[in-house]
């Protein structure tokens, strides 16, 4: 268990908070309270796992992409996601955990990943909806995290945001093209929007009042904006984009408040949210099983690479 805040050295703790208040980034070797370190490991590894697990619903469509152009784009996007997972794993390791430990926690179900990847992607339009909505929501969150107080996390976010803007645009392009296609294509796009809208809103997490970590995370500037405020930004950005391409957001209560400039909307089905988090979503088992299988099947590759590296070293010594 992490040391409680009351057990930390009060002088060091005050100096730490003063640094954060002055917008000075915390670096790996700096003193930090145990709870800051543990909280970051939890959040950053969850973020890394989300990138990696997020490759699965899309990987499913590589061999069935409708054109060579679409296929190349999809592969580039999936490769980016693998890369983003790696940036984040390395950044997490600077907090004193190991890559093996991070993966063990995922496989043991102790570490989570974004629940949104526990939904299936049954049609090509889902590739559009994932890019537009899921990546769109992730970008809103990640843009805010560029200013997070932990240096390595912040730098990884800057890099990721730079690379990810194409992800959302390629998804919106797919949706726009399908929406203006045949009636069947339009319907396919609309169905995908219907499927992904609510899970995308859920990506921002529970209401601020229900969020276990929000208040301390905000004080330490790990998080810079609350779940509800980020969710609202996403809705306000996305509704006009849907209207522009002639698709309808599946929420009859969506209304623009001309005074605040924000859309009001129906509340999320929180039972579904908690259900998927607890592991009962449509694909939870499938996603985790696949990751375990891929990891186990790579075991011989890791062993061979270690043996090869040792052999090379030996050659150098005897040469």
């Amino acid at each position: 268990m992490a040391k409680e805040l009351e057990e930390e050295d009060p002088i060091k703790l005050a100096a730490f908070q003063a640094k954060i208040d002055a917008e000075i980034k915390i670096e790996p070797k700096d003193w930090m309270p145990e709870k800051y370190r543990i909280g970051l490991i939890r959040q950053m590894s969850q973020h890394a796992h989300s990138e990696v697990i997020g490759m699965q619903p899309e990987g499913n469509w590589v061999s069935r992409a409708p054109s060579l152009r679409a296929k190349k784009i999809l592969m580039a996007k999936i490769q980016d996601e693998g890369g983003h997972g790696l940036y984040l794993y390395c950044a997490t390791e600077t907090l004193g955990t190991s890559r093996d430990e991070i993966l063990e926690n995922l496989h043991a179900g102790k570490a989570k990943y974004a629940s949104v990847f526990n939904y299936p992607a049954p049609t090509w339009a889902d590739m559009g909806a994932i890019g537009w909505l899921v990546d769109g929501a992730a970008i809103v969150n990640q843009v805010s995290l560029q200013k997070t107080s932990y240096g390595p996390y912040s730098r990884a976010m800057v890099r990721i945001c730079k690379e990810e803007s194409f992800h959302q645009r390629q998804g919106y392009e797919i949706m726009a093209n399908m929406a203006k296609g045949s009636a069947a294509q339009h319907k396919m796009a609309q169905d995908a929007l219907d499927r992904w809208w609510w899970p995308s809103l859920m990506m921002f997490g529970p209401h601020d009042s229900e969020s276990a970590h929000t208040s301390q995370s905000m004080k330490w500037k790990i998080k810079r904006e609350t779940n509800d405020s980020l969710r609202q930004q996403f809705i306000d950005k996305t509704v006009p984009q849907a209207e522009l391409i002639g698709l309808k957001i599946p929420d009859d209560n969506l209304k623009l408040d001309s005074e605040t400039g924000h859309y009001s909307h129906t509340d999320i089905d929180w039972d579904e949210f908690w259900n998927v988090i607890k592991g009962y979503g449509p694909c939870n088992k499938k996603r985790l099983d696949h990751h375990k299988k891929a990891h186990a099947e790579g075991q011989w590759v890791r062993e061979a690479a270690i043996a090869y590296a040792k052999k090379q070293e030996l050659k150098l010594k005897t040469a």
Binding site: A76, Q79, R99
Partner: protein, 95 residues
């Protein structure tokens, strides 16, 4: 069973010829060749650089943040190392 993910390497990129190398991040790899190829795939997918340095993370010697104040202190009282310290005669040009 041993199941490690390779050792940690730090990656430095030169964005353009003639520019200094800058730290961009780290990666895991088992040997130099793999570290170099992974660095290319991970950090230069969009032409971010045309030169890569990789260094084993364990070989890097870093200053200690807790000693920061005393370690860098000697430079603090040497204002005469800066050009603005000197008084130039009125009207002096190109200096």
């Amino acid at each position: 069973m041993e199941d490690n993910q390779g050792i940690l390497w730090e990656v430095f990129l030169q964005p353009k010829a003639g520019r200094p190398f800058k730290h961009v991040g780290s990666l895991h790899a088992y040997d130099k060749t793999m570290a170099m190829e992974s660095a290319r795939d991970l950090y230069t997918r969009r032409g971010e650089g045309n030169g890569i340095w990789i260094v084993k993370a364990e070989d890097i010697v870093a200053s200690q943040p807790e000693d920061e104040a005393s370690f860098f202190e000697p430079a603090n009282d040497k204002v005469y190392r800066h050009p603005t310290f000197y008084t130039m005669p009125e009207g002096a040009k190109n200096i």
